[in-house]
Structure formats: structure tokens, C-alpha cells
Symmetry: C2
Subunit: 338 residues, 2 copies
Amino acid sequence: MHHDPQTHPFHVIGVDIGGGKIALGAVSSAGEVTASQQYPTGPERPAEAVIDDLTARIRKMTEEVPFEVDGLGVGVCGQVVMSSGVVRQSPNLPNWDDVPLRQRLEAALGLPVTVANDMKVIALGQWQYSSERAVDDLVVVFVGTGVGGGVIANGQMLLGRDDHAGEVGHATIMVDGRECRCGNLGCLEAYVGGWAIAERAREAAEGDPREGAKLLALAGGNLENITAETVADANREDDDLARRIVEETGHYLGAGMVGVVNGFNPSRLILGGGVLDGIPELLESVEAHVQRYALRACTTDLEVILAEFGAEAGILGGAALAMQTLPNARSRSGELDA
Amino acid sequence: MHHDPQTHPFHVIGVDIGGGKIALGAVSSAGEVTASQQYPTGPERPAEAVIDDLTARIRKMTEEVPFEVDGLGVGVCGQVVMSSGVVRQSPNLPNWDDVPLRQRLEAALGLPVTVANDMKVIALGQWQYSSERAVDDLVVVFVGTGVGGGVIANGQMLLGRDDHAGEVGHATIMVDGRECRCGNLGCLEAYVGGWAIAERAREAAEGDPREGAKLLALAGGNLENITAETVADANREDDDLARRIVEETGHYLGAGMVGVVNGFNPSRLILGGGVLDGIPELLESVEAHVQRYALRACTTDLEVILAEFGAEAGILGGAALAMQTLPNARSRSGELDA
């Protein structure tokens, strides 16, 4: 018999492996997070050490929660082949080249495990657990240090040939524009990613020290310490330069989101990530830009909204992934009871 | 019993309604075009007149082919709501606002009819009938007067909320760039669409009449008569300005296709349309640009190729659409024999 969340409650663990921190939590089939924790990833450690540490924590969590755990869903900030559960590579986890994460976790835990790119996992969680469950087409874009996206199309994760669809941060919004970390010029991320906002702010403050005085002061007098957070802080204090950088960031992000809206025609464009947390008014700029400049046909049923669940977005996404694949996983491991 | 193309051959008619011409053809379940014709659309005529004319031609074709026709698939160069078969609007068919095309054709012909946007239909045809049938993720981009796209994702047409997904011609590739006909600035179409190539060529020839002498001569001495075809002709005659415009066009189109490849992660990027027909070397520029600048993970299994079937691409697409929806259509009209 398949698990029916309406009548047979079950529980899974969702894990979000980021470059900075790892979050894990136990989630009931009703979408309740019943236990959670987060801790620093230590990206410089070997992948094996990170995985050993993680399996110990998961084992402990499964022992502590007052119910049986049926499966595990994991999002990783990198390129993941879903069919094999292998992490191909990750810009923020330098020691994670071709790591067979699913195999390792399944062997250590004896649970069915599903692994996917973190943004796809978060998109699935937003779709599954938020008030947007009723729509079948949504795009989630997170603007943190980098810019990543996840797409739900016709009620399914959009994966593409190699499970890498949704990399909207690396659409060119300015031919021959700013250098991106990916090796291309003019990517959306090269304008609105946290690292790029910091870079633009440093350039501006260096170019006009009088205008940049506030940013420089907030950065302790050291230009190199200006970050996207410094810009967010100065913006909250009505600093002119910070406000201009925020305005331009909204303009660039809006331009990128026009491409997303015209390309995927979602009914919800859901924005989140550290940059949106620090500069929430970007939501309004993007919405105004998209409503004005995207094709009318693509905006008729569109709402631009903020992501839900804060720090638990990755946990709930992992849980959604586990629950979505649980019947298959059980069948795969011979545990499906007919 | 459902029709199985392997054992029970059947036939459909595919129709491609463009702003310039309409093409229709009878297609067997084996993908053979057994009859076809094309004629000028007359976009200035009322939609009713175009539809009456079309139904007469379809009726005649169904009478002339030596088999029964089971259904009709129609691609229209405009925004179509597939569930209702209504053409919402079309930039190239000014009299086609909210035309209930499916209803009209079904009433007139007594056949199940499916209607969709022409680029989605062409993508379906390329997928269904070309040598690319074995892949499940492809993007088709046609560069003609405008730039349109159609996406097959995981073996299905990518539609989005309102069936308008795939409008990749209106991704911003240059923030605050050239004016597009859609009302935005810096769209891909505003650089590489036929009208935009013509505009860029006119500006260049006007700015430097000596450099523009060849283009002007080919246009009969009238700057306003320079078109994308003039550029293609001069490029074939090794004119310096035309070659520069072609190079720049490849650079812009390549930048746009990087966004497409990173966004949809297709295994085939299929390019076609009048501009590609006239300047086929654009394929190589795009391929080189994408292989160099798209994310490595997204190009591992990617091939950039030309569209197949020439003038019959729309007919075969319409046929694929009809065949895909035939069982449903029959069931809908009560004709499904159990």
C-alpha cells in the first residue's frame, strides 16, 4: 500500500547542504518540522568527513524523534545527477567532485535517499508546502552570493537533459558586460549576486570616496570589507550611493526576470535569498519592471512574491523531494508492501 | 481501441498559419507528407475570411487524398490558449483578437482540431519526426522577422501557466539596449530579428555611406529598402560591412542562446527561420559561443543543429500536434471506440 499523507502520516528528513552551512530537519507528512538543526559546513574539509558528520547527525535525529523516519531528501549547492545521486561538482564545495552522495547515505543509514540541486529542491518545497500549492507553474530565484533558480513546470521539477535546467543566474543580460565567476561576461549574477553587488559598491566607493564615505565607514575604513550586507545596511540608513546601487540592482534583476517570465511563463515568480532578505524592496522593483516590460500574455496570471519558510526552506524542500520519490525509492529497495 | 501508428496507419492534416503565408498538408502516421500547398495569408483580411478560405481548402484536401483524415493540428503565429483553441492575439495578424479558431474549424469540418502557438508546434514536429526523436529535451529557436522559441522538456511541450512559455526572443540581452517592438529595451529580437538586422544595417550604412555602398546598391539606392536579406546577399559577396553585421549578429544570438542553454539544459538546440536560411554560418557562431560561454554542465550533452524539413516544418508540426492529441480529441467528441 502506498503511503497516503491524508490517512497514514509518515516522516522524512530534509537536508540542505550549502557552502556555508548545512541544515537538517525531521518533517511530518503534514509538513510540520518537528526537529531541526544547522551547523557550519566546513567546505574545506574532505567530502567524506562532511558526510560522516552528517550521517551521525541524521542517525541521532532519527533516534530522538518519536516516530520512524521513512526517507531522506537532500539538496546540494552544486550540479547533481539525480538518477545516480552523484554530486558532479560545486563551486562552493571545492572537495566535492563526483561524490556518490546518495549511495554513501543509503549505505550508512539504510534509508531511501534522493539527492538534487538545492534550488530545485527549494522550488519543490515552495510548491509543495506554501500557499502556492494550487499552481502548477512557478519559478523560484534565490539571490545570495550567487543567483540560482528552480522551475516547477506543469507540476514537475524542470530538469533538462542533465538535471541542470534553471540556471537563470547565468543568462546574459549585458552582452560584453561585467565578468562573471562562471567565465562568461554579462551574466545576471555578475550584476546582482552578492559578490557582484559588493564589487560594484567597491568600485563606486573607490571612484568617488566622498560619495562612498558611508559604505567605507560601515566597512571599518577598508574598501575590501564592503559586502552586499554593507550596501543593505547603508541603504537602510538612506545613504545616497547605497540607494543608487540598490536601484540599479533592482533594474538589473528586473531585466533578468523579464527573460525568466517570458521564457517559462510561470504563474508565480518567487524571490528569496540573502540579498532579498537584506534589501526586501528589490521585490517591488522586480515586480514593477516585469509587469511593465515582460510580454503582456506572460504577466496576465503572474504574481511576484517572496519565498516562504526562511531558514527552513531547504529542509522543507528536502522533505518534499523525499516524499515525492518515496514510493519509487521503496519499490527500488524492495520495501514496497503491496 | 487507440490508434497505434505502428499497426493502424492513419492520417491528419497539419496547418501553419503565419503572418505571410499559410501552409497545409496531409500527413500519414508514418510522417509522410502526401499532399501540401501554401498560399498568402492576406493578414489584412478579417479572421473570418481567412478561416472560411482555409476550411474550404482543408475540405478539398481531405476529399482529394485517398484516405480518411482523422484530425487537424494547427500552429498560429500568435498567443494561443490551447485548452480552448482561442487565438488571443498575434502581432502579425492584426485582425485575430480572441478568435475561437478550434471551435470554428471543428464546426466547419467535423474533425477533432488542436491549436497551438506555431513555435511550440514546430518544436513538437522537430522532436517527433526528425532524427532527434530519441532525445527528450530540446529547444527550437526560429529567427525570422521576429525570434520565437519552442521547448520540449522531458518529452512534453513546455507550456507554462498560459501556454506562452518559450518566448526566448524577448529575453533581455542588453539592459537599456535597443528598442524592441514588444515595448521593452534590449531584447534578443531587437538585435537579431530580421527587422532588427535591417535596422542595424540601415544605421551603419547611413553612418558611413562609403562602407555602406554595397548594401545601398543592393537596395536600389534607397536606404529604407535595406533588409536582412540585403545583408545576407552582401555577406555572400564578401562585403565588409555586411560581414561585420553578420559577426555581431552571431555574437548577440550566441549570448541569447547561452541563456537558453543554461535555463533549459536541452540536449539539442535547434535553429531555423529565414535569417538562418540566409546566413547559415550563424549556426557555427552560436555553437562556438555556447560551447565556450554556457555552463560546462549544460553543454556536456548539447548539440547545436539546424532545423529540418524546410517549408514543411510547420505542416509536420501541426500533424504531430494532431496525432499527439488525437486519442483525447476523439474521446472528447465521443468517437473513441473501446
